[in-house]
């Protein structure tokens, strides 16, 4: 779907509590255009829980059940079950959760909901930190990134949530990025046409969290994909395929930009360049990206 054909209806209202340049509202605008009015969101503790603004008003125009941090997928399971009994199964039930509430504290509920074949869409908007509490490391934080709890740079590599989801063999899973709204829109639309548990993870570059200037949210997302640091793919009926620039990279038609191009725009990686270039850690990052690509290319060829 081309941007000009996106529905005009807005479900994210202007005047929210989001930071200027926020990838959550940016992504959610597109997601809700694809989902439409017939949607119930459940949102655990995360930035978006706060972005809604405060009682008695909300900045969103779809029904939202805010829920405890670890419980989003479980609450969604309850909503889906109730709608089934009410004969309203055509309503989209969607979780909109951050990486903290997905990779870490919310992982159990998510795994259980998928294993039960719950008919819902789980969207993780991934800014790679516990952003709402002020930028602490999560299981999604990449290696060497500064956060308030990994002050000299994270010592561990991040989890590959995609692999965890794929191990559940859901009918549909995909990665996306706020910088590619048409790809995101299409994926959400496709997911909602499939019955069963669906998972979409959206890379969400966060200006205060990644330490970059607030106008560059889209630019950072593009660079993540163009350097290969973030892979766009879809998994449908057991088959994995790449999308957009990631597809071109996989087919050898696009030479990924050097990952330093992405790293050096982010203050959270500035210690890798100053006072001098940290070749050891940057090479470790590159190596992990290379391994990840190898692994996914193998999966795609199966």
């Amino acid at each position: 779907m081309a941007i000009k054909d996106f529905p005009i209806e807005e479900y994210v209202l202007p005047g929210s509590a989001a930071c200027p340049g926020c990838p959550s509202t940016m992504g959610l605008r597109t997601v809700l255009k694809a989902l439409g009015k017939n949607t119930i969101l459940t949102i655990p503790a995360c930035c978006t829980a706060v972005i809604q603004s405060w009682y008695p008003y909300t900045s969103f125009n779809v029904p939202i059940l805010n829920i405890a941090f670890e419980a989003a997928a479980a609450a969604a399971s309850g909503i889906v079950a109730a709608l089934k009994k009410l004969g309203e199964e055509d309503i989209n039930v969607v979780v909109w959760a951050g990486d903290g509430g997905t990779y870490d504290i919310g992982l159990q509920a998510l795994s259980g909901a998928i294993e039960r074949q719950t008919n819902f869409l789980y969207i993780c908007y991934n800014n790679q930190i516990y952003s709402n509490t002020g930028i602490q490391r999560s299981g999604a934080t990449p290696y060497a990134a500064w956060t308030t709890t990994t002050v000299k740079g994270k010592k561990e590599f991040r989890k590959d949530m995609g692999e965890i989801i794929l191990a559940h063999h859901p009918p549909y899973a995909a990665t996306a990025c706020v910088s590619y709204p048409e790809d995101l829109y299409n994926k959400v639309k496709k997911a909602m046409g499939i019955k069963g548990p669906k998972y979409i993870e959206i890379l969400a570059p966060c200006p205060p969290g990644w330490r970059f200037s607030m106008d560059k949210t889209v630019e950072l997302g593009k660079l993540a994909v163009e350097t290969g640091a973030w892979i766009l793919y879809e998994y449908e009926n057991g088959k994995l395929s790449f999308n957009g620039i990631s597809k071109s990279i996989a087919e050898g038609k696009y030479k990924p930009k050097p990952v330093e191009d992405w790293l050096k725009l982010q203050g959270r990686f500035s210690h890798l360049f100053k006072p001098e270039k940290d070749e050891v850690r940057i090479n470790a990052i590159k190596e992990r990206i290379r391994e990840t690509w190898q692994h996914y290319k193998k999966l795609a060829s199966l």
Binding site: T39, W54, F60, A68, G78, V80
Partner: protein, 385 residues
């Protein structure tokens, strides 16, 4: 009306069946598991038209019930001990969200070490959550109370979730005869659920976003008013049930042979049942001992306790729980409620039955004799040694 002989757990499952919840989300834990199994059978054979979510933890069980109740349907779950503790956060959530979920809790001791027997620390630790709390002393009471709980909880003047407690292995696994009304009579007593707020795509509200102190304070106050309102409604519902179905277990309390009593026992749950036997025996022997069985702990039945204390100023409170560092919950709350209102009341707090330690009518008689013979202090740990 028919008579069914079954365990407290299967009776609870039957009551849940007849209350017609649309979503059940549950997780197994000893000694609640047969409730969950009972419901699974009803769903699989088509008797219960509900979505049964076999969740992956008790925290998720309550979260799923919250999701379902917020969408506008009647829900049910059951748990015990560690499961109840694990859902603690979501118990608070359900009450603050004003969702009339009904749950059976089979009282069991908390570990470590693993102790599966009857102990009320689990539900006592949930007193502050805003849930209504019932303590059942018979399988009939379990059946009646589960259905009554829905009627009370869903009343627009209440709108708070309700916990129906039954003693692990004592009630849960003991078969007793229970009078079960016809489904259509239950339907007349308990009409279909009408949610007072819900997630509705035609009315897109947000529930639970940021709220500032003044507004939060007002919600808390309204919850307090709701529990106060529930006192009257609990009485009305118990009376209505008695008129329709013939069984009655008191309302907030059950006053048992307290006329002219020199000593009144306050007890809950399984010990409450045993205390009746003890009272009968002691009265046959000429001792004027009565029982105020506490059926409802939340809302706290202060008026009823004050009334009894004015008649009889010696109260023997048996707690199958302990707030380590202070005393048993019922004793503590009884003392607090009587202070400045019944000045000459003497409250003797007995801790008994922790970890499933058996409490027989002989034990209760011994406790009474300790008080009568002035050998009881302010707090007694019965049977230690």
């Amino acid at each position: 009306m028919k008579t069914v002989i079954d365990t407290g757990n299967y009776i609870a499952a039957r009551a849940a069946l007849m209350a017609k919840p649309k979503v059940v989300a549950a997780y197994p834990i000893t000694p609640q598991t047969t409730i969950v199994e009972g419901i699974a059978k009803y769903v699989e054979n088509g008797e219960l038209d509900a979505e049964y979510i076999c969740v992956e933890s008790e925290h998720s069980a309550m979260s799923a019930c919250i999701g379902a109740a917020a969408t506008g349907v009647r829900t049910f779950t059951a748990t015990s001990a560690h499961g109840l503790l694990l859902m603690h956060e979501m118990l608070h959530w359900a009450a603050l969200a004003r969702l009339p979920i009904v749950m059976c809790n089979v009282n069991r001791a908390i570990g470590p070490g693993w102790n599966i027997w009857c102990d009320e620390n689990d539900s006592i630790a949930q007193r502050d959550t805003g849930w209504l709390q019932f303590y059942c002393s018979s399988n009939q009471e379990v059946f009646d109370t589960v259905i009554q709980a829905y009627k009370i909880a869903e009343n627009e003047k209440v709108l708070l979730p309700a916990m129906v407690n039954l003693g692990g292995f004592i009630l849960s696994h003991t078969s007793l005869p229970v009078k079960v009304p016809e489904q259509k009579e239950i339907d007349e007593f308990l009409p279909p659920y009408k949610p007072k707020w819900r997630l509705d795509v035609n009315n897109p509200i947000t529930h639970g976003n940021i709220i500032f102190p003044d507004d939060y304070y007002r919600i808390r106050y309204d919850m307090q008013l709701a529990q106060n309102n529930s006192k009257k409604i609990i009485k009305e519902v118990a009376k209505e049930w008695k008129e329709k179905f013939g069984t009655y277990h008191g309302d907030l309390v059950e006053v048992y042979k307290c006329d002219n009593a020199d000593l009144v026992i306050l007890a809950m749950g399984a010990i409450g049942a045993e205390a009746k036997v003890a009272v009968d025996k002691m009265q046959r022997e000429g001792l004027k001992v009565g029982l105020l069985r506490i059926r409802v702990l939340r809302p706290f039945p202060d008026e009823e306790i004050i009334r009894i204390a004015k008649q009889c100023n010696k109260l023997l409170v048996i707690d199958r729980n302990i707030s380590v560092g202070n005393e048993g919950a019922l004793a503590s709350e009884t003392r607090a409620c009587l202070k400045d209102r019944v000045e000459d009341a003497n409250v003797y707090g007995f801790i008994a039955g922790l970890g499933g330690k058996d409490v027989t009518y002989n034990d209760i008689e011994k406790m009474c004799k300790m008080v009568i013979n002035k050998k009881a202090g302010r707090i007694e740990w019965y049977g230690l040694g």
